[in-house]
């Protein structure tokens, strides 16, 4: 399942080397700016910022297309909804279709916001490994009062890592079970309900057994969820702090322009 990690593109650019916490906070600030933007100058500023970031990181068109593709059906859907259903000055009129200038403007604004949100998030995931983002999130969550919910940020990070490990395990197990059932005479196309149940039931059972085994293994290795250290420690450099100062400044500029 190498395709599962398609989001990350190895590289050694400036953006790749930034601390993941810097990038996460910057992405949140930029997302706020995207929502605050309302006029073409705002969007032009954000587009220029995006072009600069994508050039610096070396992220190619393929990554952005891969991120936008799942949502491609929503862009025209929302745009045409706005175009035809917003009240205002008519552009033209063909029977029940009454597009308006206000609808056109509103549709373009909403779709542009959505596209920018996805593109900036893509730069984060394209320049940072999932494990490093997990580390960054764990550090950002540490000050939060997660104790009230009975867990720690270490537990949260551990659960994320466990899930990442479980996913390819599912696909591998499903493939093995499917082949085993086919070798015993199951025809997936002929009786689809029986095929689904004869694959999903053993898959779930083996996954639950694996989870129980994993629980025992973690407990016997003294996992506690508190006072943990990490194989790869994060550190904020001067350049990280500089970026953290610049991004909110851009946010303020966009909002107050």
């Amino acid at each position: 399942m190498t395709n599962l990690f398609f989001s990350y593109f190895p590289g050694d650019s400036f953006l790749h080397r930034l601390d993941p916490r810097t990038k996460i906070i910057s992405l949140i600030c930029i997302s706020i700016a995207v929502f605050a933007a309302g006029i073409p100058e705002h969007f032009a500023t954000l587009v220029i910022l995006f072009m600069i970031c994508s050039y610096i990181s070396g992220t190619g068109f393929r990554a952005f297309w891969h991120s936008l593709k799942p949502m491609m059906i929503f862009f025209p859907l929302i745009f045409f909804m706005q175009l035809f259903l917003t009240q205002g000055d008519l552009i033209f009129s063909i029977g029940p279709l009454k597009p308006t200038y206000e609808g056109l403007e509103l549709g373009l604004t909403v779709v542009t916001r959505f596209v920018l949100l996805i593109l900036f998030a893509t730069i984060l995931t394209a320049t940072t490994r999932p494990s490093m983002i997990t580390n960054g999130l764990e550090r950002l969550f540490r000050p939060l009062p997660l104790k009230a919910a009975g867990i720690t940020s270490h537990d949260l990070a551990a659960m994320m890592s466990l899930s990442i490990r479980f996913i390819p395990m599912f696909f591998e197990n499903a493939r093995q079970i499917r082949e085993a059932q086919i070798s015993r005479g199951m025809d997936p196309r002929h009786n689809i309900l029986r095929a689904v149940s004869s694959i999903s039931v053993p898959l779930i059972i083996s996954s639950i057994r694996d989870a129980d085994d994993l629980t025992m293994a973690m407990q016997s290795r003294c996992y506690q969820g508190i006072s943990r250290t990490y194989l790869h420690e994060l550190e904020m450099n001067g350049i990280d702090w500089a970026v953290l100062i610049c991004v909110p400044a851009i946010l303020i500029f966009v909002v107050l322009y």
Partner: protein, 184 residues
């Protein structure tokens, strides 16, 4: 015996087990987004994603069920293509369709809470609880779609609820059946 030089006792084994199962369910929800079964009478295919959200609430309870859905959302944020259609990233969560993902959290919380206070044992009781969770998902999804995409209520319902009702009711039935028969 020294536990990392602190006075805290080791966590209860049941808590650790629940934690591992929460991670397992987060992975199941992620994989569920890829399991796609076309249905002749439904405009959208049936996916197992929402089904596992329901099961997370009923089988893990309100605390760990909610945590497993939060872990699933975090997986999407860090870049794994686990949102519907293989999407990922914070942009999806903040976009017009992100309300459904936020609704998953509240649905698991509500389903887990209702199941814990009533311990239903019949199919109809479980189905009622899970339908409440489904209503929460629709409510959150439509609300965010209206807010972010600037749509009217009827427009948001047309895009975000009507095409999915048939497939979702099938998932409610399957989840109710599994919940009635099995337990973790």
């Amino acid at each position: 015996m020294v536990y990392n030089e602190t006075d805290s006792p080791p966590p209860e084994s049941d808590d650790l087990r629940k934690m591992v199962f929460a991670a397992l369910f987060a992975a199941l929800i992620s994989v569920g987004a890829y399991i796609r079964v076309p249905i002749p009478i439904s405009p959208v295919p049936l996916t197992a994603q929402v089904l596992f959200v329901f099961l997370a609430g009923t089988m893990l309870g309100k605390k760990w069920g909610t945590i497993s859905v939060l872990v699933y959302l975090l997986l999407g944020i860090i870049g794994l293509p686990v949102f519907a259609g293989g999407a990922s990233g914070l942009g999806i969560l903040l976009g017009p369709t992100g309300g459904y993902l936020v609704g998953f959290v509240f649905a698991a919380l509500l389903i887990g809470y209702l199941k814990e206070i009533r311990t239903p044992e019949r199919f109809i009781s479980n189905a009622s609880i899970i339908i409440c969770g489904l209503a929460v998902i629709y409510l959150a999804g439509v609300t965010q779609m209206m807010a972010v995409a600037d749509l009217e209520l009827i427009e948001a319902l047309t895009i975000g609820v009507v095409p999915f009702v048939i497939a979702d009711l099938i998932k409610v039935s399957i989840a109710s059946y599994i919940t009635t028969k099995y337990e973790i």
